[in-house]
Structure formats: structure tokens, C-alpha cells
Amino acid sequence: MNKVFKALSDPTRRRVLQLLRQGPMTAGELAEEFAVAKSTMSAHFAALREADLIDARKAGATITYRLKMSVLEDALLGFTQAFGLEFKDSMPEPPVGDLQEET
């Protein structure tokens, strides 16, 4: 549960989850929505996957992400969105490098 709290504490990761509410998106499509380096996005995706909040499907060089949240996690996301909660202790950044460039 700690991983879930920490994953939801970051505004970028929360925004990723909000975008995935509209449907599955590729890593490239998600990265286009943010003005950050792809390696940073890769770390965010890894954190969300580690917390089991998203599901990744690889087809060739494309990774497609989709939402995989329990009812409680969904309610927590709404709660953190509404109140803008952030956790002080930062989560160690997961290893970078699992995001593949889309062809």
C-alpha cells in the first residue's frame, strides 16, 4: 500500500492516471503530454507499474499502458486530486531504461 501512496503523491503520475482514464495510451502518446525527458517519464511509468496501478503491454517497439486500479486506489486518486496531497518522503526513483522509443 505504501507504494500506492507514494505513486499517487506525484502530480505527474496522477496526471498519467487521469489520462489513462480515457483509455489505453502508448508510452509515446503519454510522454507527449508532458514537457519532461522520456527517461523521467520512464521512471514515472515504472513507479506506477510497481504499485500495480497500470498495466503495460508490449507490441513490437510500442508499449501500451492501461489503468489497473482497485476501487480503493481509484478513490484515493480522487482524494489526492481533490486535496492535492503530497508525501514528503520521496520514493527512490526506479531504474530508467524500460521505455522504448516508438517507431
Binding site: P24, D52, R66, K68, S70, V71
Partner: protein
């Protein structure tokens, strides 16, 4: 040790609880030995049956549709989790009967524990399963569907399970047994059928528009 292995071992340990209690009851109340033996063996037999079925088929059902189990670890966790609750549901009345037979508690209290608390635990199981239901239904996103509608359906199915489980537990705590039995049964049957009906309606194209 991985969390899945720990849960699996805990489930096996919990399954031993009804076996021990049933064996003790066979000595204390031998007149109903067949009942205690049934209570002792039903879980290990179910566990072996489900395990073999999952291995053989490699698929599970949700909402009447066949869905591939993408992650065998998830399937093992779900089975272990269900076995822990099933062990509790059987062990609680057995423990109450044993305590009654040994003269530790009143027969009326044993009855109350055996009926009410067993059903409260069963309601708790529904709440916890309902919470994870959207995760289990995630592979449905692969179906030809409007993704936002699919997510709403997944969450809706989870909430229905949670509310049905909560209502069931509260009914068994608050109502007389003669009322809790029929009303609780109706609530839990509705809780099981409603998500299934929603998903079937969706599969028939009554809800949402295909996105591709």
C-alpha cells in the same frame, strides 16, 4: 520469501485450522462425526480441485465471459486469498461448537457466533474481492469497446460487490437471524448477478460505442 509464497503458506496453515477443529469435534461429539469430517475435508478437496482446474484450463470467467489469466501469480494469490476466508468461514462455527461442547460458552452464544460472525466474515470477503474486481477485469479492455465506458463498468462492478458485502455484513450484525437469512441472501445474490448483468449487457453492445 515473496509475498505470494507467504500468502500461499498462510492459506495452507489456515486450511489446517478446520481440520484440527473437526478432528477434535469428532472426539468430543462423535454423534455428528460425518458433519465434522465433511467440514474438515471440503476445503483441501476444493483447493486441489481449483488448483488443477486453473492449471488445466488456464482461464477464468468474469461476467460470463472467458478471460485469459494473464498473470498466473495473480491467479495463485486470488486462490490463496479465497482459501484464507473460506477457512475462517468454516473454522469460526467449528470453534464455536467445540467451545460449546467443552462447556466454555453457552449454546446460545455458540449459535450466535456460528451464524452471525461467519456471515460477517463472508461479507468482508465480498468487500475485499470487490475492491480488486476492477484489476481482475482489466483484460476486458482488450475487447472492442469504448475504453472510458469499460473503466466505468469495471469500477461499477467493484462498487456493487463492495456495497453488497457491506450490506450483508451489517444485516447479519443488526437483524434477527430469521430476517438476516433471506434478506442477506437476496443482497448477496443481487451483488453477484448485477455486475454480471452489466458486463453481459455491455458485451451485447447495449452500452457504449466501439472505439475502433
Amino acid at each position: 520469501m515473496t509475498p505470494t509464497r507467504t500468502l500461499s503458506r498462510f492459506a495452507l496453515a489456515m486450511m489446517a485450522l478446520p481440520v484440527v477443529l473437526g478432528a477434535l469435534l469428532c472426539f468430543v461429539r462423535p454423534a455428528a462425526a460425518w458433519l465434522w469430517i465433511f467440514a474438515m475435508l471440503i476445503l483441501p478437496a476444493s483447493w486441489l480441485g481449483i488448483r488443477e482446474a486453473v492449471k488445466a484450463v488456464g482461464k477464468t470467467t468474469a461476467g460470463g465471459m472467458m478471460i485469459p489469466v494473464e498473470d498466473p501469480v495473480d491467479a495463485r494469490k486470488a486462490i490463496s486469498f479465497a482459501m484464507v476466508f473460506a477457512s475462517l468461514v468454516i473454522a469460526i462455527p467449528l470453534a464455536a461448537r467445540l467451545a460449546d461442547a467443552l462447556g466454555l460458552i453457552d449454546p446460545s452464544l455458540a449459535d450466535a457466533i456460528a451464524t452471525r460472525w461467519t456471515n460477517v466474515v463472508a461479507g468482508g470477503y465480498f468487500v475485499l474481492r470487490g475492491n480488486r474486481l476492477p484489476k481482475i477485469l482489466t483484460p476486458l479492455s482488450d475487447l472492442r469497446c469504448a475504453p472510458a465506458t469499460m473503466l466505468t463498468l469495471q469500477r461499477g462492478a467493484g462498487w456493487i460487490f463492495i456495497l453488497a458485502g457491506l450490506a450483508y455484513a451489517v444485516l447479519w450484525l443488526a437483524l434477527p437471524v430469521r430476517l438476516a437469512e433471506p434478506i442477506g441472501a437476496a443482497v448477496i445474490v443481487a451483488g453477484i448477478l448485477a455486475p454480471s448483468a452489466l458486463l453481459r449487457a455491455y458485451a451485447k453492445g447495449r452500452l457504449g460505442k466501439p472505439s475502433h
